[in-house]
């Protein structure tokens, strides 16, 4: 069935291309063919959370970066990665600027929950989009996406729950069709979407959704420093087995004023009314946002904003006030400073909610220095505090990142990164207060190419102390030898290691070797 779909899609692309390309037009193009073998040696457990979970051993064949362009502007592209393996990722498109564009994709990946291959989930995704432009000011588009997933997964990968598994088998598809009209001042877009969810294990979960969206934006003729925008969105989710329904109507609008001397005023409003037929509830959400700012060319800028959110279901009502500050300074394209601070205070005005009143504050400071000869260095400090007085809980974390790229042209490139993440969680129960911290150190070296040989080597070390005491380490090495002008021999070696020092026996090790030959081919 799926094979049949792919063949149908391929036929559609070919039909479009052949229809658009008349004989007599010359063309040229090319791409790369890559063939190789991937060898995987792994042992341990908890494979689901390792980077290797979607890797497959076997013969891999890829057609990478294929392009063919005719003189009349029609271009055909294809990027078909690992056609012969289960982690294939295929993309193809055909287009002519101003006339049409058609794109297709197919991919799949899996997650394994044990090492004997008995418990895994696999997802296939196939999709396509077509757009045609019958007029320079109008575009019609439509497409589909289909995702199938099946398999068995564990609800939790902790030792205590290893016996709890659940099965999955569903098909999820969506179709969309719409149009866009544009003129020099602005544009308008309308789109209809349909979703279908078909659960093979439980028919009472089958459902569908229909949505329609209209958005428009324009500069005001005669005053193109004023931008007006707005839209409407309607969506209905329905269960097939009952009359259960979730219906939403949402409208939004905004005005942005580009004022003299780099000043800016931006106001937006959003209103959404959502009705759930299960408990016959109706919830309104209203969001008002206003931002004022000033920019001095590419040198500096500042933004100050306020956001008001009201959520009301006639029984409970919450109001939140948010403030935002952002500023940046750019000194001669060498030193870049950026700071932001945002707060949000939510209060329950009427009724009671599970979470109650809540305060959130977060900040971020960034400094970057760039030198054309030596590279760049960046330091960043980010923090967040979330307090809930009703639950008497508090989460407070800080993250510091240092990132450097040394690029002396005569030697190559060295990339270094360190991140430190620390925080604590408090609750009214002393039993579950705890601190957590993460460290990540990573380095990658790209030496300058020597004759026809290019290599790079990198390593990442990660240590986490949260509820677990986990350590991860990975090493990767790659060497490429270019020969006969258009051939490449590539050898890749990767090592992954994971240990959990609290959960006894929780470890994972993998060695992956990939040897491949790539040939560049030109056509025309």
């Amino acid at each position: 069935m799926k094979q049949f779909q792919i063949e149908k899609l391929t036929g559609l692309v070919l039909a479009c291309v052949l229809g658009a390309v008349t004989t007599g037009f010359a063309g040229d193009g090319g791409g790369r063919v890559k063939a190789g073998y991937i060898y995987i040696d792994e042992e341990g457990n908890h494979a689901v959370n390792q980077e290797t979970y979607n890797s497959y051993e076997g013969f891999g064949l890829s057609f990478e970066d294929w392009k063919y362009r005719w003189d009349n502007g029609v271009t055909l592209k294809a990027n078909l990665h690992n056609i012969t393996l289960n982690n294939r990722n295929l993309r193809a498109s055909a287009s002519k600027p101003g006339l049409f564009n058609i794109s297709l994709r197919n991919s799949q990946y899996r997650r394994s929950y044990d090492f004997d291959g008995g418990r895994f989930t696999r997802r296939w995704t196939t999709g396509g989009q077509l757009s045609i432009q019958p007029h320079r000011n109008a575009k019609l588009f439509g497409g589909f996406t289909k995702a199938d997933k099946h398999g068995v997964s564990s609800l939790s990968t902790t030792t205590v729950s290893d016996s709890v598994f659940s099965s999955t088998d569903y098909a999820h598809s969506s179709y969309n069709i719409g149009g866009q009209a544009f003129c020099p001042y602005g544009s308008a877009r309308i789109e209809y979407r349909r979703y279908d969810f078909d659960d093979q294990l439980s028919a009472n979960r089958d459902r569908k959704a229909n949505s329609i969206r209209v958005d428009a934006s324009t500069l005001v003729p005669g005053a193109n420093w004023i931008n007006l925008s707005g839209g409407y969105y309607h969506r209905v989710n329905e269960l097939d087995a009952s009359e259960l329904e979730l219906k939403t109507n949402q409208g939004w609008g905004g005005v942005k004023l580009y004022l003299p001397k780099g000043h800016l005023l931006d106001y937006r409003i959003l209103f959404a009314r959502t009705r759930h037929s299960g408990d016959d509830s109706e919830t309104d959400n209203v969001i008002n946002t206003i931002v004022v700012g000033k920019s001095i060319g590419r040198i500096a800028g500042v933004r100050i904003g306020y956001e008001n959110r009201i959520s009301d279901d006639l029984v409970d009502r919450t109001v939140s006030h948010g403030f935002l500050f952002r500023g940046w300074y750019n000194y001669q394209q060498r030193l870049f400073l950026k700071a932001s601070l945002a707060t949000r205070k939510k209060e329950v005005k009427t009724g009671t909610t599970l979470l109650g009143d809540e305060n959130v504050t977060r900040h971020r400071l960034t400094a970057r220095y760039r030198d054309d000869r030596w590279g760049d260095f960046t330091a960043q400090w980010q923090g967040r505090i979330r307090e809930n007085q009703d639950l008497r809980s508090k989460v407070d974390y800080n993250a510091i990142s240092l990132d450097g790229n040394l690029t002396p042209s005569e030697y190559g490139r060295l990339s270094l990164r360190y991140s430190y993440y620390v925080g604590k969680y408090e609750n009214n129960s002393d039993e579950i207060n705890y601190q957590f911290s993460d460290h990540v150190v990573a380095a990658t070296l790209y030496p300058k190419a020597y004759r026809d040989i290019t290599v790079h080597v990198g390593a990442t070390y990660y240590r986490s102390r949260r509820d677990r005491d986990a350590e991860k380490f990975s090493l990767n090495f790659a060497a490429v030898y270019r020969f006969l002008d258009d051939h490449e021999l590539e050898i890749k070696y990767q090592v992954f290691n994971f240990d959990d020092f609290i959960a006894g026996g929780s470890y994972y090790t993998a060695n992956i070797v990939e040897i491949s030959v790539t040939k560049a081919i030109s056509i025309g």
């Binding site: 362009r69 989710n237 037929s277 969001i287």
Partner: protein, 320 residues
Amino acid sequence: MEVSAWPTQRPLFPIWALGANILLLTGSVLAQEAAVDDETCLACHDDYELSVADSPHRLSSQTSQPVVQIGCISCHSGGEVHAEDPSEDNISNPARLIGQETGRACRKCHQPHRELDNYGFDAHADLELSCSECHRVHNYGREMLLDDRAEFCLRCHQSVQATFERRSNHPIGQGIMTCLSCHRFTRRADHNTAYGLSRVCQDCHPEQGGPFLHEHGAALAYEVGGSGCIECHNPHGSENDRLLRLPGNELCRSCHVEHVTRNHQNLWDEVWSRQPCQTCHIETHGSFVSELYLDPDLPAKLGGNCYDPGCHSLSGQGGK
């Protein structure tokens, strides 16, 4: 005539500038500076035609049957002066402009998506990032993006990078996803208030989507007391299973602190102590049969003890 490479310096309000801008927007693209053709440009910039040949910006002069008229001067103004006296300073380059002015250059043909879709705080617009900060016209990548890999975004969002190293994560590192898989700048109007579960999450996890007869309010973005999937999950990465923000029962207890003991302490303490909440409350995203989100197959799994008369029931009524 000297043409500045920094049109941002040009005042916007004077009437003559306003008129010029309107002419710029409404006039035929090629008619703006017809005196300079592509051949003149390509005589020096001989590799530039190839850099856009496969793209929507393919030059009309190099196409046998062009549908749209695109030339070098469609984006770069000041060609006449530049042809006489080649210099970086007398030809405009949209890549050097900042936010609003880049948009003005690109919007001759494109609608800036932050104007069509955006509302609320927008970090990228607020920082006056320009189209060229993310998009590239010459030697472009997918979607005309400078680089669509996660590494590109993480250059600025460095603090997020460490979270993807955690034990449970979204597969950014494996290249299966990119930041753009979830953070869709062109579809921001799909605000979460319009959905049960977050719209973006539903695309890949539709099995968790409702509507359910018994909703878990915290998981619903539109609910007065809920904030969507992120109430329980850290979408970037977590040391806990399933991207959960807190380990095991602590996550449930962080909200249901009055109702849940640390372990399942009751008459069945001996048998069912130290069980994860999810052993029984399996349908935490919502349920059609149990307002306590209990597993419909629990009687079969546990031998029926929990649902004996006088004890628990699927509906939660009459339970202990």
